[in-house]
């Protein structure tokens, strides 16, 4: 996972979910695929959300789409309280599941 890895492919990702408007589809060298979405966020908002995520107790859920990786880079500046938040979710299948799964 990660854009700097050799062999990483990036493509655009279309979804009707508004949080995925500008998301990218990342495929690494081992063909694992991830959805990566970046948001502008206030430090406090990020902190609140991250704590809520950690405290939710749902991380091991087999039924929820939760981030596998979260990265927050604060903007430069003396009074900066905003930054860019990158959220990575393990990939979702875009094609249709085959019937043997049901």
């Amino acid at each position: 996972m990660g854009n700097s890895n050799k062999g990483v492919k990036e493509s655009t990702f279309k979804s009707s979910n508004p949080h995925l408007n500008k998301a990218k589809l990342i495929e690494n060298s081992t063909h694992d695929r991830y959805i990566e979405a970046a948001f502008k966020a206030q430090n406090k908002d990020y902190s609140d959300w991250h704590n809520a995520l950690k405290n939710s107790g749902c991380q091991e859920s087999n039924y929820l789409l939760l981030p596998t990786k979260v990265n927050y880079n604060a903007d430069a500046g003396l009074c900066g309280n905003t930054g860019t938040l990158t959220v990575t979710h393990h990939l979702l299948r875009i094609n249709i599941p085959s019937s043997h799964m049901f």
Partner: protein, 131 residues
């Protein structure tokens, strides 16, 4: 996936719909069992995904920063946001008759509406009059 199926004119099979119903219910059970919020997930077709193994995953309030519960979207009168609140619940919230004990009504309504959307390959709002 509903759009994909619609473009291919390929309806979901009954077994697929049962699987989706089971998975959506299990997702809410997970949140209810582990989550600390009294409100559950915001189920609607936009928040339902399928992973590599063909298993359904629900993107709930914890999945994204800046996500808000449907209740807040209704209170803020954000008509651009998709919500599937039960009509009586939506009316209660819009008229400030808040009843936190009945949130499960909307969760069950949303699951049913999502399954109906999948079964009909159609937006639920086109087949149900919320007024």
């Amino acid at each position: 996936m509903i759009k994909e199926r619609l473009s291919e004119k390929k309806n979901f099979k009954e077994s697929e719909l049962w699987f989706a119903l089971y998975s959506l219910t299990a997702a809410l059970v997970d949140i209810r069992r582990n989550g600390k919020t009294p409100k559950l997930g915001d189920i609607n077709p936009q928040n339902v995904f399928v992973n590599d193994e063909g298993h359904i995953r629900v993107a709930n309030i914890y999945s994204w920063p800046h996500e808000r519960f449907s209740y807040w979207k209704v209170l803020e009168n954000d008509k651009h946001e998709n919500t599937l609140l039960a009509p009586e619940d939506m009316n209660n919230w819009q008229t400030n008759h808040l009843d936190n004990d009945n949130n499960h009504q909307s969760e069950l309504f949303a699951i049913g509406a999502t399954i109906i959307s999948a079964a009909l390959l159609s937006d639920f709002k086109s087949v149900y009059d919320f007024k």
